[in-house]
Amino acid sequence: MDEKEREAWYQFHHRKYGIPSDHLRREFEAELSGQNPVDAPLEVPDKMEILFKYSYGQQSRFFRELRENKAIYGARCNECGKVYCPPRSHCNDCYQPTEWVRLEGTGVIRACTVQHYTTSAFIKKLPFICAYVQLDGTDFLLMTNMEVEDVRKIAVGTRVKAVFREERHGSITDFYFKPIE
């Protein structure tokens, strides 16, 4: 390929996959300018992507309460009284229906670690805390990440409270946990 053809190749793949053109040039310039032998492995870019419009099913109220009322709800089993958060429509032990209970939004860290390396999607947040929080009044652990100035201040037993974001989308990330000072 000549330079004009290569530029068209970069623009096409940039539009198709959203990969910056300079990254495409760095990765594929040698190949496209004919430097690789004809039998060498040929690499090309690709992306897998699917759009959704999905339903939260029986957990819908939980997410609507987050978005509309800045409230966290658990689900209490009518039979054994166990309170789930994340909520579920039926107890996984008794198989009986649950009912909604409003939670305080406070809790305690049951396990935690500090991530210094992570996935592409979260790399800009490093370092951050990855923890299981048990909300007061529940029998469950909720996985969460916490961005704090000093990761050393977070440990097993640290009391935390949920803080709601100004902009809420009806997702689990509508709130985050902060240590209670």
């Binding site: 994340p86 991530q115 996935t119």
Partner: protein
Amino acid sequence: MRDVAIVGMGCTKFKARWVDKTYYELAFDAAKMALEDAGVDKDRIDCAVYGIYNDFFQRQYQPDAFVHDYLGLGLKPMVRVNSGGATGGAALRIGYAEVASGLYDICLVLGVEKCADCYNYEVAMATPEVLRAILYTADMTYDNPAGRTAASGFALAVVAHREKYGNPTDEQMAKVSVKNHFNATKNPVAQSPKIITVEDVLNSRMIVEPFRFYDNCLYTEGAAAVILASKKVAHEITDNPVWIGGLGASVDYVMPGNRPNIYTYESSRVAARKAYEMAGITNPLKELDLAELHDAFTGTEIMAYEDCFFCEEGRGGDLIDEGAVMPGGEIPVNLSGGLIGCGHAVGATGIMQTFEIATHLRGQAGERQAPNARRGLVQSIGGTLCTWTVCLVLEN
């Protein structure tokens, strides 16, 4: 149930990247080696089980169908197994059932994974994008948005274990890393043969506390295959069958809030107990000659010593301190190098571990041969905080 033997096996080199092979081409290489090892033609295969973990890795949904096609096994039945990191062990379990049930006489069990085609253009590395693909296996509604990695899940369990028992310590974990990298230097298929010191491990950069760089396995591309046969057919095919004497499997709650604790891997304890019961083992430390345990992380291997009942709960660190799990020790662990030294080609890993134990039981492990190896354990685990475990006891 009928007795089931391994009559043939093959394993490609485990590498960071096989840029010159697709996933089905890697699968073909492993299948060809296994068939040649067994000395049978592919037409004798009655059915196949494929262990393939992540569809994103392969850039293909239902990759099993394309492997089956490429191996030329058209019109034979097959099934694909996906149980996270335990995919290889789970595939062996299904293959065992196919033959033990009497439904089929010869079953190909093949694991393959090609992860490093995932690529993060911004940092010009595969790993963060590999981790992003894996993050789709976390609960999409509640856990995925927290950005956890496989390492952080297993780290949380190790941290909880430390809270309760005070170990594994950083030094104990480092010793496991040194051992497994060293063991890999004797294994021709290993990805990470290295002579390193405890200080090298402790000085390597922090990944997810308490795991430093050398506490982690690396992502690997590769394929491994075994051919299983019924007793009658096994004796006809080979003079050195390796028998599956025990098998146990367990799947824990994937949402750890449903578990009574997170400082042990309960699925491993259940699976190991079942496998030992079936094999008639009452004292695993004495009755097993070697083990391949799923050391995705050094701390996880130490917890596995406890969960496979090599010692009391909370005493796993002692086994590495005392040298029992070293080459020549009472129960050498991960003579292949394990996931840390040999590599973790997810769907292929449990089958690579089985290949390793069977190689020792056949007396073909060369420089790394465990002396008088008669019986070995394979532990294959996966999922958030060890959701899946499959344990196999292999005997000669």
